[in-house]
Symmetry: C2
Subunit: 203 residues, 2 copies
Amino acid sequence: MDVLVPFAADDPKTRLSEVLSAAERKQFSRSMLEDVLDGLWAVDADPTVLSTAPIDIDGDAAVVVDDRSLSEAVNDRLDPPQAVVVADLPLATAETFRRLFDSAVDADVAVAPGLGGGTNCLVVDHPEFRVDYHGASIRDHRTIADEVGADLTAIDSFRLAVDIDTPADLSEVLLHAEGRTREFLEAAGFELTIRDGRVSVAR
Amino acid sequence: MDVLVPFAADDPKTRLSEVLSAAERKQFSRSMLEDVLDGLWAVDADPTVLSTAPIDIDGDAAVVVDDRSLSEAVNDRLDPPQAVVVADLPLATAETFRRLFDSAVDADVAVAPGLGGGTNCLVVDHPEFRVDYHGASIRDHRTIADEVGADLTAIDSFRLAVDIDTPADLSEVLLHAEGRTREFLEAAGFELTIRDGRVSVAR
């Protein structure tokens, strides 16, 4: 399966600015990207990083650079069957991606919803489907599938739903992830904290 | 499968106080409970509501009252094979519960992680396992399973991970749920809003 992995190379993850420096945010987002690539390679998928600026990647990932909006850059390259997987899913594993691709076999479009209305993964096998990542994209992708007559299925996955944007999200990495992103956070001195029964992280 | 469904009857969901009155929070939490019971009945599970105070429930749910801490009340009634499912999972469906119980067949303990370190569902088939819901309970339940020599498996489910505690969580109900909880929110005038690309709710 060809997989586009969109990646924001410049000033990534600004909502983490209160806990990570600009240089650390770059390393952190790179770790998440590499975790996603590792998971995709492990199920013999063929990822291409769609980056907003040139980057070097460990391993053999192809990189294409396009600084237009995410939706424009993806739509310009949609060539079904094709998947689009966001780069900030450090909880995703090879098994998760296998479930995603299996669930897509009988559907024109398979989606993995993200928390907060996003669409963290798409598997498209319909010639007229187009992406629209602005706003509550999971709702818009359902509408677009309806409009072009494409059957849509959703995969029910916690690991594909948790994208990492805020300091609160970091606790999910420490609780559930195993890869480079978790290693990065542990090396940077992050640990779980519990106050008034609520779980958070501290450095 | 016998299923305990813990339910906080008095002053529920205080973190929703800024958007729902005390009376509405009672109705809202009752709607979530009834959605969970409907999903469990649909897969022929046998739920018992473990309530902190007497309540009347639509349908035939058994209710037992215990005002001790959640962990004490559950541990006192653990009689494997038995499940414990929290009452605030309005995204859960019959299909989700079927996956949960299927995943538990070959394990001593099956867990569905909740966002923020919780344990939203447990299926226990080991005589020595005990629950501990305080703090990062998913981590503690892994440790307890290790200590008593119980095999633990985790089900990867977005619908079982999203428990509803805060106003931000309500958007997940409007985006993904179908039952009484969604109807309650829509009747109360809630709708999705999108500002700066972020999804929220307004009334």
